[in-house]
């Protein structure tokens, strides 16, 4: 393939995967609202777009209640008045939502979605063959902080800037532990290429070998995504709603779009790093099954995130910082050290360890 063909293929794959994930984002909001409602003994949005079935006895029967709710929400957000407060820094205020969404989309580039399908030689990803995939993810997430910080500062409002500062402090603190535990699967697989990490898990998912790393990773992801119980930056009781309080219309919607798209991509990354990625039964015979396994693993990840939100109360700010620096970071460093020592001992043949 020539360079032009590779670029064109990446462009088409990127466009299609972005559309898929944006649709996924819309239905993740529906999943969250319905599931959260069920967990709180409510019903949730079940009116928009149901398919009426014929009456059976006295009960009216409905199918797929709420299936059009995301479309209704999107239309509402698009047609709301797009007001800009008078005292904001206009450039930064308008830039912030975009800087939140763009990294959320960029992360998708390196995730392996399936094995060799659709004419891809090794594996199906928007940009296959990137040797520094893990570093790419870390670089993009570190850029993602700007959206929230600039939204807080550009709004020129006390609540917004408090939310923005909380967000940046939190993301910087937890990114450290996150980066350190990501190194454990990288060391086991001996590669920073995400597909190599998936292939290396043929003998068993890394969550079995690295349970501590997996747990720290999941906690770090919750903090990185600012989901409950780490959603201090949008604590309604203290900050009205934090960094996005001055935004309205679709610009407000873009912050949520970024949050839910990051939920999807981090579920995918967790699946790739610790839960075998697109691998599963019969995937060698039918590589297209990989897409289905990825989908199932991502949905399970999303359900766990929503479940945690319904179960745990929000942390206090000093507890959050103390937990990040005094508990999570030492565990991550120790985990890194012990994993490295065990790998070296196993490769020298001193102890037996199934890698």
């Amino acid at each position: 393939m020539t360079l032009g063909q590779i670029a064109l293929r990446a462009l088409i794959a990127g466009f299609i995967m972005s559309l898929v994930v944006i649709t996924g984002f819309a239905y993740t909001t529906l999943l969250e609202r319905r599931l959260l409602a069920r967990l709180q003994a409510r019903i949730g949005p079940n009116r928009a777009g149901y398919i009426p079935l014929p009456r059976k006895g006295k009960r009216e029967r409905r199918l797929l209640g709420g299936i059009m709710q995301p479309a209704a929400d999107a239309v509402k957000l698009f047609f709301k008045e797009d007001a800009t407060p008078a005292m904001v820094d206009r450039v930064v205020y308008n830039l912030a939502p975009m800087l939140t969404v763009i990294p959320a989309i960029l992360i998708l580039a390196v995730i392996p979605w399936a094995g060799p399908i659709l004419g891809y030689e090794e594996y199906f990803a928007i940009a296959p063959g990137i040797d520094v995939g893990i570093l790419f993810i870390l670089a993009i997430t570190s850029i993602g902080v700007y959206g929230v910080v600039l939204a807080g500062w550009g709004s020129n409002s006390k609540y917004a800037i408090l939310g923005g500062i909380r967000a940046s402090a939190q993301m910087i603190s937890y990114e450290l532990s996150l980066a350190l535990v990501i190194l454990a699967p990288v060391m086991l697989a001996g590669s920073m290429n995400l597909n190599d990490i998936v292939v290396a898990q043929e003998g068993g998912w890394y969550v079995l070998f690295l349970p501590v790393a997996a747990i720290v990773f999941i906690i770090g992801v919750f903090a990185e995504l600012q989901r409950a119980p780490f959603d201090l930056l949008e604590a309604e009781q203290e900050l009205s709603s934090g960094y996005n309080v001055e935004y309205g219309g679709m610009r407000f919607g873009m912050f949520f779009m970024a949050e839910y798209m990051k939920m999807i991509s981090f579920s995918a990354i967790a699946a790739v790093l610790f839960f075998g990625g697109y691998r599963g039964p019969f995937v060698d015979q039918f590589p297209a099954l990989g897409l289905l396994y990825m989908f199932i693993k991502i949905v399970i990840g999303l359900i766990i995130m929503i479940w945690v939100r319904a179960s745990l109360p929000r942390l206090r700010y000093d507890q959050l910082m103390g937990f990040g620096w005094k508990v999570l970071l030492p565990i991550a460093v120790l985990n890194f050290l012990i994993t490295a020592v065990i790998i070296v001992l196993a490769s020298e043949g001193i102890i037996a360890f199934p890698i």
């Binding site: 830039l95 520094v132 670089a139 570190s142 910080v149 500062i165 910087i172």
Partner: protein, 170 residues
């Protein structure tokens, strides 16, 4: 082929963002221009087939350091630039800056012209830029500077903590 086009486009973005950083009167805008500049330099590394350095450049400079810069600017409320000419004892800085800039431009110009005149055309052998190769270099032949850097960073961190602790007691 397309490489000169990519290079010229990137160079334009890099130079314009550097000028934007120097000329903007708002410290937050200046910091954002600097972020753009750092990211462009990261892309330069990708064009030069050094993806590892590119990703580290973006993570460390554009990600970590500039977020801390923004943090400080916001917390101090130092966004607006007051007239710099009122600051006492800084009159000697401008001539010195012009002089140093002239020296830099002359040195660069000399090197570039010399390179163009001699033009020996001996291309360097392609380097292995994979993470493994960089790791082997860093922990092999460059282990001593690497460790010295680590100790330096640790010393600066500890001294800050000690300073802060004394501040609290006094």
């Amino acid at each position: 082929m397309g490489q000169p086009v990519v290079f010229i486009a990137l160079a334009l973005v890099a130079i314009l963002s550097a000028f934007g950083m120097l000329l903007s009167h708002n410290a937050v805008h200046a910091a954002l221009f600097l972020v753009l500049n750092f990211i462009t330099i990261g892309v330069f590394y990708i064009v030069l087939a050094a993806p590892f350095i590119a990703m580290v450049q973006i993570t460390v400079y554009a990600g970590a350091i500039m977020v801390l810069f923004l943090f400080v600017i916001m917390l101090l409320g130092a966004e607006r630039l007051e007239g710099a000419q009122n600051v006492p004892n800084t009159a000697w800085q401008r001539p010195l800056a012009v002089f140093l800039a002239a020296v830099l431009v002359l040195a660069f110009g000399y090197l570039i012209i010399q390179e163009a005149v001699s033009a020996t055309g001996t291309a360097l052998p392609p380097l292995d830029s994979s993470p493994q190769a960089i790791g082997e270099l860093l922990f092999g032949s460059y282990i001593f500077p690497f460790e010295v850097t680590a100790v330096l960073l640790l010393v600066s961190m500890i001294s800050l903590v000690v300073w802060k602790a004394q501040d609290k007691r006094g």
